[in-house]
């Protein structure tokens, strides 16, 4: 059965070819580039670990990581709490209009990010935006959502939350659907309250799904680029220069050696964070 043996190789060949051309080759290139100084023309100059030591002592690099970390704090915990509660509500027995809610919640996720980011710019404009008009209506003061370094991060976080929470709810819902209803029935017979059931049945049983969401969103937040690119251009005062936007700045300035080193440090940071979360949740599981 020669054809049986050859067939799978033929089937995966297109993927492998693309992988070699557009993942492996660039990856190897990045590693080499990160040890050079190169501005996109002429020959790259080998400078050893200089890019790395430059970055690791650079305030702007650390600042961008801090901005990403702050956004992470504003986004992931909020999204998990809201996501789990909404998913549980959507999963309640005999809920009417379930389909309508599901569709409505996922609309932000399917709308193009760039279009939505632009709408954000208009909505949150300090003098002309709808949000400040709404604030004025109820007697709240005018807020510089995108023009002050205090508010720019929360405003971007809100955009991210608005855009992705519905999708996260659906993922969590898929975890919830694998829990047997019998568990809840016997728990309520034993007189367990809603919050007790949430804490001792729901959350422990969907821990793998929660872990998946945390890792997924950690990767997404640390790569966040389009939001600051469209809404704030990294400002005001670099307060929304995320790690992803910092990297873009280097590409833009054709500082390619440093950019390559930045992207590799970023990969290490993101992978380390993801592994840490996986470990943390596993360890909690064991106790």
């Amino acid at each position: 059965m020669a054809r049986l043996r050859a067939a799978p190789y033929v089937f995966v060949a297109p993927f492998v070819a693309m992988f070699l051309a557009f993942s492996v080759y660039p990856m190897v290139f990045t590693v080499r580039l990160s040890f050079t100084s190169w501005r996109g023309a002429g020959d790259p100059v080998w400078i050893g670990w200089d890019n790395y030591s430059y970055l690791l002592t650079n305030d702007r690099f650390w600042g961008s990581l801090w901005n990403s970390a702050a956004l992470w704090l504003l986004i992931v915990p909020v999204q998990l709490v809201v996501g789990v509660i909404v998913a549980v509500l959507l999963n309640s027995a005999k809920l009417r209009l379930r389909g309508m809610y599901r569709v409505a919640f996922i609309v932000p996720f399917v709308t193009p990010l760039v279009a939505v980011a632009q709408i954000w710019v208009v909505l949150f404009d300090q003098s002309y935006g709808a949000i400040n008009s709404l604030f004025a209506l109820v007697g709240l003061p005018e807020v510089g959502w995108l023009t002050t370094s205090t508010w720019a991060k929360p405003t971007l976080a809100l955009l991210f939350l608005w855009k992705t929470t519905g999708f996260i709810v659906i993922i969590l819902l898929s975890g919830l659907q694998s829990i047997k209803p019998v568990l809840y029935e016997s728990a309520s017979l034993d007189g367990a309250s809603w919050s007790q059931q949430l804490r001792s049945i729901t959350v422990p049983l969907i821990r793998p799904t929660i872990m998946f969401v945390v890792v997924l969103q950690t990767l997404a937040v640390f790569q966040m680029f389009a939001e600051p690119f469209v809404v704030t251009q990294g400002g005001p005062y670099s307060s929304t220069t995320t790690a992803g936007y910092f990297l873009y700045n280097q590409i833009n300035r054709a500082d390619l050696g440093t950019g390559a080193a930045t992207s590799l440090l970023l990969v290490v940071a993101v992978m380390a964070l993801s592994l840490m979360f996986v470990r943390m949740l596993r360890a909690e599981d064991g106790s």
Binding site: M27, P112, V114
Partner: protein, 299 residues
């Protein structure tokens, strides 16, 4: 949940029933509030795009249907190369979409139904591609495109990432559920290995493919980071790239730009970009949501 009180009930049951009502009421209250929050920005933007440009910034919360106009749209179509953006996106959508929809399930078929030397290594490549942040590859990929002469070309937009790793991963789960007997029967009937894929697997996994199609179309239509890097010139800019340059006109201090006009055009452009995808999604949402519900990690 209609409580028909024909016979007098004991007080305890009645209290239970009214408590249940309160509970249902509260659940719907929370969900409705959230629904409004999720839909409001989109609805506001689409409605505002029909207002006079001045009205959008003077009175953002006032809507008067009798004074609705298409002015923002006419000036937007004049000032913004949005039609070219649409046609570029359409080209990428057709070719990249076709490549993903054909080659990803094909590779997934090999991973799901064959044993072959190196399978684990090659599947490891799929997992690595899944985990690797896309921004890492952007610099070298851009340089590779420069060497190939693919900057600002359709090939440059289409080929990288065309055989999508997530699609392979998802379809592998789907194809695994197809009974092996079906394949064996087809083999006995003299079907070729590709024939098995084409005539047995593809028809059986059609629901999964529908879900994948919805996701793929959305991803390609909304893709931004790679297009803005590789195709920033006007003649190959995709719809999202065209859109992104508009917002910068507002925030990036375009000298002499009239804020109201730019805002009006921006909302019109955003609406034009939003509406086709929203209609598409609402028509096909069942496939997409069921796809996620069935295909993601199980607890």
């Amino acid at each position: 949940m209609t409580a028909t009180d024909h016979s007098p009930k004991p007080a305890r049951t009645r209290r239970l029933v009214s408590w249940q009502y309160a509970r249902t009421f509260a659940i719907h209250g929370v969900l409705l509030l959230l629904m409004v929050a999720f839909l409001a920005p989109v609805v506001w933007a689409i409605l505002s795009s029909f207002k006079q440009a001045n009205g959008i910034i003077r009175a953002p919360l006032v809507f008067d249907p009798s004074s609705f106009t298409l002015d923002n749209y006419t000036s937007m179509f004049e000032d913004v190369p949005i039609v070219r953006g649409f046609s570029n996106t359409a080209v990428v959508l057709v070719f990249k979409g076709a490549i993903t929809m054909f080659f990803a399930p094909l590779a997934a078929f090999a991973f799901a139904k064959y044993d072959f030397k190196g399978k684990n290594v090659i599947f490891g490549m799929v997992l690595v591609t899944l985990m690797l942040p896309t921004i890492v590859l952007i610099i070298p990929l851009l340089l590779e495109m420069k060497t190939l002469g693919w900057v600002n070309t359709y090939q440059g937009l289409i080929l990288p990432g065309a055989v999508d790793a997530f699609a392979i991963f998802w379809m592998r789960q789907v194809i695994r559920a197809v009974p092996d007997d079906l394949l064996a029967a087809a083999r006995i009937d003299g079907c070729s290995e590709f024939g098995i894929f084409w005539r047995v697997i593809v028809p059986v996994i059609r629901p999964g493919l529908a879900g994948l199609a919805v996701l793929t179309i959305m991803n390609i239509y909304n893709d931004f980071v790679w297009p803005v890097v590789v195709a920033s010139s006007d003649d190959r800019a995709t719809l999202q790239v065209v859109l992104s340059s508009l917002a910068q006109n507002i925030t990036g201090n375009r000298i002499g730009a009239d804020y109201a006009t730019v805002t009006g055009e921006l909302l019109a452009a955003a609406s034009v970009a939003l509406i086709p995808l929203l209609i598409f999604f609402i028509l096909l949402q069942r496939h997409f949501i069921n796809g996620i519900l069935a295909g993601s990690v199980k607890g």
